[in-house]
């Protein structure tokens, strides 16, 4: 078997809570993502999905175990990693053009060339004409496009996405999912896409990994053998889609219930 692009081996991550106790976000997690594979990670709220991405990106280091990206252990924020955040992470004081050009500028490319590349990416994500706008003047969907361009301009070999479309309305979301697949098929980066939406996961991914309610560990891994290129809006009606959905949902349901019971206990 070839070396996986991204690999987590027996990873445990503990955080110190403000009260001084240790909180275990992930326990003994194993995960491998192949080269150029689109892997979706689903799980109930608070199961450590975002922590997984933070570990792969190098923003956080594991308490135990090993995280390998491109075959090498992660020690700091990697150069080849792109990360699309759940909340808005574009810089509010920069115009769309400056926002998208930020990555190349940080990496020492001169302004002219960085802006040229930024214009190209702005066109690719469908924001042409909005170069001079500030983020607060854009809609949520347009800000997400800007964030996507900002990440993809660095041509990451490993693309991490943390519920990127969860704040969007359903129509915009379907549109963005299709566009993401298109952009991805041109780059063939290895993707880890975190979501709590099982439909989104199946529609986009080659493989779906279900994580248990926190502390998170892998509950099951499922292949999605739907043909590409896919149309996210239509793929949901295929019988194969429903079959996979049911199979995964059986596993996921238990975890969602556990997480739900727990949150009820906290409230009461």
């Amino acid at each position: 078997m070839p070396t996986p692009a991204i690999e987590l081996r027996h990873v445990t991550k503990r955080f110190l809570t403000p009260s001084g106790t240790a909180y275990t976000a992930l326990r003994d997690l194993d995960l491998a993502v192949g080269d150029g594979e689109f892997c979706a990670v689903v799980g109930p709220t608070g199961c450590g999905k975002s922590t997984t991405l933070a570990l792969i990106s190098g923003l956080e280091l594991p308490s135990e175990g090993e995280v390998l990206v491109g075959g090498a252990p992660v020690q700091r924020v990697g150069r080849d990693v792109g990360y699309v955040f759940q909340v808005d992470a574009v810089f509010p004081w920069k115009s769309v053009l400056d926002n998208v050009a930020t990555g190349p500028r940080f990496r020492g490319i001169n302004r002219r060339e960085a802006e040229e590349r930024a214009r190209d990416w702005i066109k690719r994500v469908g924001l042409a004409g909005f170069e001079r706008y500030y983020p607060h003047q854009l809609s949520g969907g347009m800000r997400k496009r800007a964030a996507l361009a900002q990440t993809l301009i660095n041509e990451p070999r490993f693309l991490l996405m943390d519920e990127p479309f969860s704040a969007l309305d359903v129509q915009t979301r379907t549109l963005m999912e299709n566009e993401l697949l298109q952009l991805w098929s041109a780059t063939r980066a290895s993707v880890v896409f975190v979501t709590h939406d099982l439909e989104e996961a199946i529609a986009l991914a080659d493989r779906v990994v279900v994580i248990t309610a926190g502390p998170g560990t892998v509950k099951g891994v499922y292949r999605v053998d739907l043909p590409r290129p896919r149309n996210v809006a239509e793929i949901r009606f295929q019988p194969e889609f429903s079959r996979i959905y049911q199979e995964i949902w059986n596993d996921l349901r238990d975890e969602v219930l556990v997480s739900y019971e727990r949150s009820k206990r906290v409230v009461s």
């Binding site: 923003l59 990693v81 792109g82 990360y83 992470a89 810089f91 004081w93 940080f106």
Partner: protein
């Protein structure tokens, strides 16, 4: 206007009311004599020299104190906000200095630096520094964690984090403090002059007080108000230029 009218009429004198109708003009002055005083100053100059020189002196002291204080405040605020160790080391000293009524330093500055403008500048710097420092410090601490994470992923080095993320993000906090701090710079300049100077509006007030001339005190206050308002307008203009990326809903209203 009503207040001015009542004040003017209340301080009118005639044979039966040598101390004015209701208000004694000897202590409270009267609007017409204040205007008169302003006119005299503008025409003939003040006891210390021409009026424009007094205004220019005070303004120079306040502006220098403001610029130096803001510069130091921003540098220290950002540095201590960024580096935990520095914050832990300096925090007790800064808190102790801040707790002190810093106006009393004015006397020390007059003694050590002398009657020239630099003793007033020093007092203004001390007053301005803390306002800006605490705002800059807080602004740095409040920077959105996600923005920092995003910048690091995009390839920012530590220095780029400071210049491209943390400083612009803290800028709205810093700018908000500028309104308050220019007021403090004026306080520093005027109080410094009041304590001892060759020129300036503070000295005019002190002289007027010494010669039982309430109109002179009020007239000098009027000049100060005009100076402060002009500075406020200039700062608001600067603020709007520097953070034009911000949606207009955020408070841009005057803080004096």
């Amino acid at each position: 206007m009503l207040l001015l009218g009542v004040w003017e009429i209340g301080t009118m004198k005639d044979a039966t009311h040598p101390d004015g109708f209701w208000i004694d003009p000897f202590f409270y002055g009267r609007p017409s004599s204040i205007a008169n005083q302003l006119w005299t100053w503008a025409q003939n100059g003040t006891a210390q020299g021409p009026l424009w020189l007094q205004v220019a002196t005070t303004l120079e002291e306040a502006a220098l104190g403001f610029l130096i204080g803001v510069g130091l405040g921003v540098v220290f605020g950002v540095a201590l906000g960024r580096v935990r160790l520095l914050a832990d080391v300096f925090a007790p000293y800064i808190k102790a200095l801040n707790a002190m009524p810093r106006i009393v330093l004015g006397s020390i500055f007059i003694l050590t630096i002398g009657y020239n403008i630099w003793s007033k500048v020093a007092l203004a710097v001390v007053l301005v520094f803390f306002v800006v420092f605490f705002n800059a410090f807080q602004g740095v601490r409040e920077v959105d964690r996600v923005l920092i994470a995003n910048a690091r992923i995009l390839g920012a080095k530590e220095r780029q984090l400071s210049t491209d993320v943390i400083f612009p993000s803290a800028l709205s906090w810093i700018l908000a403090s500028l309104h308050t701090s220019f007021g403090f710079a004026l306080v520093g300049a005027v109080v410094g002059e009041y304590l001892g100077a060759y020129q300036g509006i503070g000295l005019m007030i002190s002289t007027a007080q010494g010669t039982f001339n309430p109109s002179g005190v009020f007239a000098a206050m009027f000049i100060l108000a005009v100076v402060a308002l002009s500075a406020e307008v200039a700062l608001t203009w600067l603020e709007n230029r520097l953070i034009k990326w911000r949606p207009n809903t955020v408070t841009a209203d005057a803080r004096i």
